[in-house]
């Protein structure tokens, strides 16, 4: 099947990614190889193999190329974000929403790639060790060479993750969505385990893989049950059959329930989140950042599809809303509590990401309660999508700061952050802003998104209290329990402040082990500064207004 021009334009960023993957496979192998034409003596250059040219032999090529590819994809997603609309075949539909999501995914991956060029640098000067080299020196050389060799692997996997995520967002078919998720996930498993020479890398990958596979197997099984029930996996069909269902069909409910397990793993909702902290802690910071932002966004898109698009009735409450509310409360509390004493910044951020998942689940639960008008529900969705969007700024930003630290040392202990303020005030300042944004302190964008979510919940539920109740207690009894989700969220954000502030505290308070400033890492540093700026910029004023406009448009097309 040949795509028409319009269709190609529609999925241009994805095509660029595909091209990028192909190029990544080919380009580093381009050399002066020649092939003798059969039966002749003519040797024509086929360019694959042989001695590589200087350009293609450059180990930095894959990294730079991927950054360029992601930049292009990011740019085109952004350009199409207002206009995108159309379908390709039966399973792909491009809307503003999907473009927004791919915009998020590419943005996150782009930043991760930039960080990786410093985190796992390609060394042009690396050479094979000689006998005269000391053991340490030769070890270093070998590992540098190894890093050089696997540059391309890493970046190809990154692009695959991107491709899978964005296809997932575009899919209109449950099965296709699953396949896309698998594409992204399988690539992500490898990325987690990428530093296989470190004991933790392999372990993190193995755990993440095993648990993830069980989860997705469960999800596929659930999906198969849904298939058995409906005979089709197209969203529209499923939605129709769901709404035409008189009473809940156990088959469908079990199917959806099992899928929830799979998506719950993706968004790291309790109790499916347990592997996530291990995975974050064992992988490199940029990868962990991707898991915490893009991967989570992917999971939420899936949840939207299944919960909102398919199983949400026109009137009344969805069958899952109480369940989701409980999961939400458990998730946020668990995440925050566990993060409280975590001494490993990456683990702590992982738990914090669990907590954030809890907040968003609570918002979805409020939608599921069916109490609100469609506008109110839409507002909640806007809040969630907005949150997912800006999460890229400060959650990934925090991971990027950690990867700044990782360039020269490690970042899996709180004391690695000690005295960052005196070593590198800009990075410490950025980290401070990120932490406050995560905690939801105004006027940062993290506050706005949290405010919108609470706002949505309050909007949906606060009006349900009996208007004739003259005192607080009768009113509190009469109000829908969904209202208490808002209270749970704010209490949890207060709890979360504790560990976010501790990071700030050690940065500004403790004495650093070495007073050496961090490596300059030009692009990474400036990316972080840009992220810091955007974290503030999207918090209030025209920036926030603009982003909110984008999200609103996007959600309206969902």
């Amino acid at each position: 099947m040949i795509l028409s021009y319009e269709e190609m334009e529609l999925i241009l960023p994805e095509l660029i990614l595909v091209l990028g993957i192909i190029l990544s496979i080919l380009l580093p192998n381009v050399g002066d190889a020649k092939m003798r034409l059969p039966l002749t003596r003519m040797r024509i250059p086929i360019f694959i193999g042989g001695t590589r040219f200087k350009l293609t032999a450059d180990p930095r090529l894959p990294g730079r190329m991927t950054v360029a590819i992601f930049s292009l994809a990011f740019l085109f997603s952004f350009l199409e974000i207002k206009s995108a609309s159309g379908t390709i075949g039966d399973v792909i539909e491009v809307t503003q929403f999907t473009r927004l999501m791919s915009f998020i995914f590419y943005g996150a991956l782009l930043l991760a790639c930039i960080a990786t060029t410093y985190r796992m640098p390609a060394k042009v000067t690396a050479r094979a060790p000689k006998d005269s080299d000391s053991e340490a020196r030769s070890n270093a050389l070998i590992s540098a060479l190894m890093d050089n060799r696997r540059q391309v692997d890493f970046y190809i996997l990154m692009m695959m993750v991107g491709l899978g995520m964005s296809l997932m967002a575009m899919s209109t078919n449950l099965f296709f969505m699953f396949v896309s998720i698998e594409l992204a996930s399988l690539a992500a498993y490898i990325l987690v385990a990428f530093h296989k020479e470190e004991a933790t890398g392999g372990e993190a990958g193995a755990k993440y893989f095993i648990v993830g596979s069980v989860a997705s197997a469960t999800g596929i099984y659930g999906m198969s049950l849904v298939y058995l029930w409906a005979g089709d996996l197209d969203f529209d069909t499923l939605s129709n059959s769901w709404s035409s269902m008189d009473s809940l069909d156990p088959l469908a409910v079990i199917g959806v329930g099992l899928m929830l397990v799979a998506f719950g793993f993706k968004v790291s909702a309790a109790p499916f989140h347990l592997a996530a902290p291990d995975a974050y802690a064992g992988s490199s910071s940029p990868v962990a950042g991707v898991l915490a932002t893009a991967s989570k966004a992917m999971g939420f898109v899936a949840l939207f599809r299944v919960l909102i698009q398919i199983t949400m009735p026109e009137e009344g409450d969805a069958f899952w809303y109480v369940l989701l509310a409980i999961i939400a409360i458990i998730t946020m509390t668990w995440g925050n509590l566990a993060a409280l004493t975590s001494r490993n910044p990456k683990r702590m951020l992982a738990y914090s990401s669990v907590a954030h998942a809890g907040y968003m689940l609570a918002a979805i639960a409020a939608v599921g309660s069916g109490l609100g008008s469609s506008e109110a529900n839409e507002m909640v969705l806007i809040a969630i999508v907005f949150h997912l969007t800006i999460l890229v700024l400060f959650k990934l930003g925090a991971f990027l700061v950690l990867s700044m630290l990782e360039i020269e040392g490690r970042s899996h202990q709180l004391k690695d952050l000690h005295g960052l303020a005196s070593r590198d005030p800009m990075m410490a300042g950025s980290m401070f802003i990120f932490m406050l944004a995560l905690a939801g302190v105004p006027p940062l964008s993290g506050f706005l998104s949290k405010l919108l979510m609470i706002n949505g919940i309050v909007n949906i539920s606060a009006g349900t209290g009996s208007s004739s109740a003259d005192a607080i207690l009768p009113w509190a009894e009469s109000v829908d329990p969904v209202f208490w989700l808002a209270i749970a969220i704010v209490i949890n954000s207060a709890l979360s402040l504790f560990y976010y502030l501790r990071i700030c505290l050690v940065m500004f308070f403790e004495e650093p082990e070495s007073s050496k400033p961090l490596r300059s890492a030009y692009f990474l540093r400036n990316s972080i500064i840009v992220l810091t700026f955007l974290t503030v910029f999207f918090g209030i004023g025209s920036g926030a207004e603009y982003l909110l406009g984008l999200v609103t448009d996007a959600v309206s097309t969902m």
């Binding site: 396949v179 698998e182 392999g202 990958g205 893989f209 095993i210 197997a217 099984y221 198969s224 089709d232």
Partner: protein
């Protein structure tokens, strides 16, 4: 012809075995196999659905699911190999440097 329910029932049993095996066995390879079982349970359902609805979709799903399973095994083995090379074990209980 076999009743659909029998096929589905077999699927349930397979899924159950797979799930129980996944959390009761220490050996990662065995767990991998259990995951395969779970996937196959899904495949059975797809097949049953295809039969029931007389639709080709189910067959396509099955085929792709098998492919996914294969990819999964490939990746899984690779990851387990790297685990083994650093920690000399593929027991899921013993590999617990990362915890809490």
């Amino acid at each position: 012809m076999i009743e659909i329910s029998w096929i589905v029932g077999l699927g349930v049993i397979l899924f159950g075995i797979g799930l129980v095996g996944a959390f009761s066995r220490k050996n990662a390879i065995v767990v991998l196999m259990c995951i395969e079982l779970m996937l196959n349970a899904a495949n059975l359902n797809f097949v049953a659905g295809a039969l029931y609805y007389e639709s080709v979709d189910g067959w396509v799903f099955t085929a792709i699911a098998i492919a996914i399973a294969a990819a999964e095994v490939a990746i899984g083995l690779a990851i387990l190999l790297s685990l083994y090379s650093t920690q000399d074990t593929i027991s899921l209980d013993e590999a617990n440097l990362l915890k809490n």
